[in-house]
């Protein structure tokens, strides 16, 4: 039985090549692995090895021939050296797929906040610690690791008391080795544990970016749904105070860009507690962006032991009819202060606390803008390709006809954050900036 040898594809992009040289002649014995010819591709000269044994019965394409298309028969191999007609293995033509349509529908609104009963004032720091303690009591597969989380009780004291309660097996001090411990935590999550990774700040998570994106976010998809990664990456994000450019950056839009991640950014104590509990229970990788300045701030938080919030649902912190201000994390406070100042001037702003950036609660924003017809976004991060840009585009897509004025972005200045007190103040959004932005469109 004779088989045809076909012009091989020798690179991911090759469609044709030059048959540079035959290294076997008609009548020669060929063993699997023997080099039979040389082919020049667009990149290099490659050797073609025989896959099967036999005698070279016929050469169909002479050496020196250029532009030989991939899969063209170039020779015939047969057991006895005689040429018989045999159909070559043909490549089944791939069906032409229709261009995929991305889901543009507005996601359904998540369940409304339920009434959780009496509240008491606690700090964001306490809320975060309580959330971890409650979830660690609830599920033995949950553990915390990071730099200084155990014996030091947390660089920002978020993990205070956890080592005492849960022991060194579940509250683990790591060396300063973000890439290594993040990869280790992701590996543990792929095998079914539920790690909470504390980054002392999200600035240091850049060292581990590959493991967060390529390993944590993509494995579920790459494994055809077999292997999920239930993990929380948490820590302070954004500017603190006078710590300079390398320690002051908002990573919200970096992570929100990535399919396979959820990105959460709490403002209040209730946000922190309810959303961290939901993040720990979520079967997906969750980026949980805290803020150092908020840690010591006090807010009312439900006392109910079962209190939890849904990821993907924004909260209307203040209702108003003249315009919508959308903010997240510490900027919700800035927006609320601005709204108070505006109210004194007779302008009623609706303030939306996003809580979650991916998935984004587009429905709540759209509903508000359809009512107020004006949009101002507030974020601490840089403007270019930022969260404000994305929210504006969502409104253009879903509520363009309801807009009475162009949306306005309030954001951190497009510079590395300076150290000098006066310059730093010039770079980060203040309530007055929001008031000025609102006045442009109201």
């Amino acid at each position: 039985m004779a088989t045809q040898i076909l012009m091989p594809a020798l690179s991911p992009t090759m469609t044709e090549g030059k048959l540079a040289k035959w290294l076997k002649a008609v009548g020669d014995d060929v063993k699997a692995g023997d080099v039979i010819a040389e082919i020049e591709t667009d990149k290099a000269t490659m050797e073609v090895e025989a896959v099967e044994e036999g005698k070279l019965a016929q050469i169909l394409i002479a050496e020196g021939t250029e532009g030989v298309a991939v899969n063209t028969p170039i020779a015939v191999l047969s057991a006895d050296g005689l040429v018989e007609v045999a159909a070559p293995a043909r490549v089944a033509p791939a069906p032409v797929a229709a261009a995929p349509v991305a889901a543009v529908a507005i996601p359904a609104v998540a369940a409304e906040d339920k009434d959780w009963g009496p509240s008491k004032p606690i700090t964001v720091r306490e809320a975060l610690r309580d959330a971890m303690a409650l979830e660690m009591r609830r599920d033995g597969d949950v553990f915390l690791l990071g730099e200084e989380v155990a014996q030091y009780q947390g660089a920002y004291k978020i993990s205070q008391g956890l080592l005492d309660e849960f022991g060194a097996k579940r509250v683990i001090d790591t060396p300063i080795t973000e890439h290594g411990f993040t990869g280790m935590a992701v590996g543990a999550a792929l095998n079914g544990l539920k790690p909470i990774v504390e980054f002392m700040t999200f600035n240091f998570a850049m060292q581990a970016m590959d493991q967060i994106i390529n390993s944590a976010a993509k494995t579920l998809y790459m494994s055809g749904g077999q292997m999920g990664c239930p993990i929380v990456f948490r820590g302070p994000n954004g500017a603190a105070s006078r710590v300079g450019a390398q320690h002051s950056q908002c990573y919200a839009s970096w992570y929100a860009h990535v399919p396979g991640l959820k990105v959460v950014a709490p403002w209040s104590s209730a946000d922190a507690k309810g959303l961290l509990r939901a993040s720990i229970r979520d079967p997906n990788p969750v980026i949980f962006l805290e803020n150092e300045i908020l840690y010591g701030q006090t807010f009312d938080c439900p006392e109910d032991d079962d209190f939890i919030l849904p990821i993907g649902k924004a909260k209307v912190e203040r209702t108003g009819s003249h315009l919508t201000i959308v903010a997240f994390s510490i900027m919700v406070g800035v927006a609320m202060e601005a709204a108070k100042a505006l109210a004194e001037q007779g302008i009623e702003a609706e303030v939306i606390n996003l809580r979650s950036l991916r998935p984004l609660d587009t429905a709540t924003i759209v509903e508000s803008v359809k009512k107020t017809n004006r949009l101002v976004t507030v974020e601490e991060g840089w403007p270019f390709a930022g969260i404000g840009a994305e929210i504006t585009m969502q409104i253009v897509e879903h509520a363009f006809d309801w807009l009475d004025a162009p949306p306005v972005r309030v954001h951190g200045m497009d510079v590395p954050l300076p150290y000098a007190a006066n310059l730093e103040k010039l770079a980060l959004p203040q309530p007055a900036w929001v008031v000025d932005a609102v006045k442009k469109i109201v």
Partner: protein, 336 residues
Amino acid sequence: MAQAAETRKRGKSKEPLVNQPDLMGAYRTMLLIRRFEEKAGQLYGMGLIGGFCHLYIGQEAVVTGMQMAAGEGDQVITSYRDHGHMLAAGMEARGVMAELTGRSGGYSRGKGGSMHMFSKEKNFFGGHGIVGAQVSLGNGLAFSNMYRGNDRVSFTYFGEGASNQGQVYESFNLAALLKLPTVFVIENNRYGMGTSVERSSASHDLSKNGAPWGIPGLQVDGMDVLAVREAAETAVAHCRAGKGPYLLEVQTYRYRGHSMSDPARYRTREEVQAMRSQHDCIEGARHKLEALGVDETAFKAIDDEVKGIVQDAADFAQTSPEPDPAELWTDILVEG
């Protein structure tokens, strides 16, 4: 002070280790990997497999010997040169080949490709395309074993090229510090793409690369499946006894280019031929089996069986349908 690392050279295996049924099994696994990879190369040439495709031909004894020492539930994680590891871990040739052709019958339903396949059932954790990333992840597998208090061991494979990545050393430190039950397997095939180990590593004995952290290491002849098994047994016993990680530098050779589009001009044809003709792991195992009295009929039976499995896999990989277009939007997040 940390105990000095135990580092010695392990050469050819000793005769008493030769056990005919085990060696026949290893011979069959190695042959299956080779024939599978040859077929993959052929399908690539026909345009049925796209993108990157890194063949394991020449290195078959490494994963085969390691798996001979593996126990129930031990995990395997490796780089993008992963087809051999999957077959040795017991994954089906059909599912692997169909993933290579990007079909719905593949292990990742066509969404992963050559470099990204996984099997929870067979404890195979990929299949990772970023050089060195699987080493930290492998620590995580070992960590989960320790956390759960079982005696499973994770096998973390990487090349000598990957051994220069920073996270590998972060992982050595963490593994030694936390006493993680993991066997680090450096598959030294002498070339990281086109750069020889001499040109990329200032360390001349990679088995000593874990020495600063007290990780014991062995250099192993990776063309001799029994030598690999013997070293693997030492390493696994160390890990299972709770003594922490172990490092094996398994010296091997890849006959093909780094990937399908690599003309391999950085080494001579004579060098490749010498390895193939004098050190081939399958030929070596065959000679040992012949000396034990295994006859041609038995070899022929294995050849035929392997050929059948590979042909069936190739047929399946060409007839399994492409993934449904709706698959584009599935498996991004776990719902609920």
